[in-house]
Symmetry: C2
Subunit: 143 residues, 2 copies
């Protein structure tokens, strides 16, 4: 609770570099990004971004992330075509998490769902699929 | 893309223990949790939970998290009274992130905002406050 708020770390004169510097990256140089459908508010996915990915997202208007498993920067939808157009980017109070409101082409989830959060658990541990498939993953990713 | 989907790791016979075991915890035993207002869809905060925190959340119906800075399990609102009543819990395709739809008492952010994501950045790095204060943080936390 006592940590300095993100906005206190911003430079006096606003700049993209100053904004990116004020964020709190983890030891791998990453922040967490929640992508939310700007239209209906559905939470689509959670991913990570480094400074370069954020810079590209803001400059191009399309979401870029950093893949921890593939260890590289990627543009969302570069393979599938399911790009995310950035509508607004909000920072949390600590500056280590971001909320990207986006216009999502087709679906965010590589399994074919609109949202990656498509399995609902109840208190007894029963899980049921609540998401709806919007594309066939085999066709979008070709493998 | 090739990693096994969360639902494939679930046990044949559903149980709370089996569900919690199927999640993909990081090396600190944590998963990431996005808390979303079940009413209006506003994303409220991002936090982490260990297995015990998730178990308590599901059993009590109130969100519990694990604080990485204080290194302890905590009930959201235990100090401020701004508890989160769990409405539904969704798991993402990888099983390492959860979406908790909640009924948030007053505000989620310790700065007094309804949501922790209350600072909006534009492509030039200018940041403006878009959230609204719903309580005075000094009164809620007593320091």
């Amino acid at each position: 609770m006592g940590s300095q708020a993100f906005t206190d770390r911003l430079p006096g004169k606003p700049s993209l570099a100053g904004f990116l510097r004020a964020l709190k990256y983890d030891r791998h140089g990453l922040v967490t990004v929640v992508a939310q459908d700007a239209g209906n508010g559905q939470v689509l996915m959670l991913a990570h971004a480094n400074r370069k990915a954020l810079e590209r997202s803001l400059k191009t208007g399309f979401m870029h992330y950093y893949s921890r498993s593939r260890k590289k920067l990627w543009k969302k939808g570069e393979e599938s075509g399911h790009v995310q157009q950035l509508v607004s980017l909000d920072v949390d109070c600590d500056g280590d998490a971001l909320l990207a409101r986006v216009r999502q082409a087709k679906g965010a989830c590589h399994l074919g769902f609109r949202s990656c959060f498509s399995a609902r658990a109840d208190k007894r541990g029963r899980v049921r699929i609540v998401g709806r498939k919007v594309f066939a993953p085999g066709q979008a990713y070709g493998k």
